[in-house]
Amino acid sequence: MVRSIALGLAAGLLSATAVFAQTPPAAAPAQPAAAGPSPFVFPGDAGVILNFVKADKTADFEMVLGKVKEALAKSEKPERKAQAAGWKVFKATEPGPGGAVIYVFVMDPVAKGAEYKVGDILVEGFGAEGQTLYKTYSDAYGTPAIGALLHLSKVVELGK
């Protein structure tokens, strides 16, 4: 699965719209456990996820992201604090496929061993309401949902 996501990204050539993927929305809470490690655990130094969101659903998506931030902030789990410390959300100027808006998650540094499943974070933070929030989040995704999910190892910081 990870490989197919990454391959989607590699299809691009100076164009965000050329980025394709074949993956479903990120990790619903009810999703069966996958064989092998979760793609939402980043064993390296950093991670990047390109999310393709329907243009008319960006407000919903950003609202839920606000809830994710809130859930991380109020969590008593140290790994959730560590995740929040290195997690930024950006919006790309370039359009995605079908007019989608590209939201880029940058996790740098990653919290080692922690899983970045949005659905789980929402349910942890808000219980049953978290499920509803996750549905709103999932419904905001375009087709494909994720353009790339990359596990990254640092090569060099050019300022050091």
Partner: protein, 144 residues
């Protein structure tokens, strides 16, 4: 609001000295941050990493203050996931972007190694299979 194009369309005929505005480099980033995905041929990763080292050297030895600022926010990563046809993906994450500066690698290399830049250009161009560039506006920093 009138676009620049329509304003120009209604203006008096262009003076003889007027010149077309050069296209803006895709490496002049307009947002808070930028992400480039460099898809490198599988047998050229050593060349590409050599170029990255030269970029670092050129930025660090530059007398232009903006080059040091650019270097301070520029990190290079390698993806674990393979690219197509055995390629390797290198990600440049630039955060924050130094506004109104140009991050074009070839220009930085030319500044730093003007007498020996041709082999570097060649190595860079021959190593890349494709490139994607994203200008990014910060939506949320979960640490704040």
């Amino acid at each position: 609001m009138l676009s620049a194009t329509s304003v120009f369309a209604q203006a008096a005929p262009a003076a003889p000295a007027a010149k077309a505005t050069p296209a803006k480099s895709p490496y002049e980033f307009t947002g808070d941050a930028a992400l480039t995905v460099n898809v490198v041929k599988g047998d050229k990763t050593a060349d590409f990493e050599m170029i990255v080292g030269k970029l670092q050297e050129a930025l660090q030895k530059s007398v232009r203050p903006e080059r040091a600022e650019q270097a301070a926010g520029w990190t290079v990563y390698k993806a674990s996931e393979p690219g197509p046809s055995g390629s390797v993906m290198y990600v440049f994450l630039i955060d924050p972007v130094v506004k109104d500066t140009d991050y074009t690698p070839s220009a930085i290399l030319a500044e730093g190694f003007h007498d020996d830049v041709r082999p570097l250009y060649k190595a860079l161009s021959e190593s890349l299979a494709s490139l994607s560039i994203y200008n990014l506006e910060l939506v949320s920093d979960f640490s704040k």
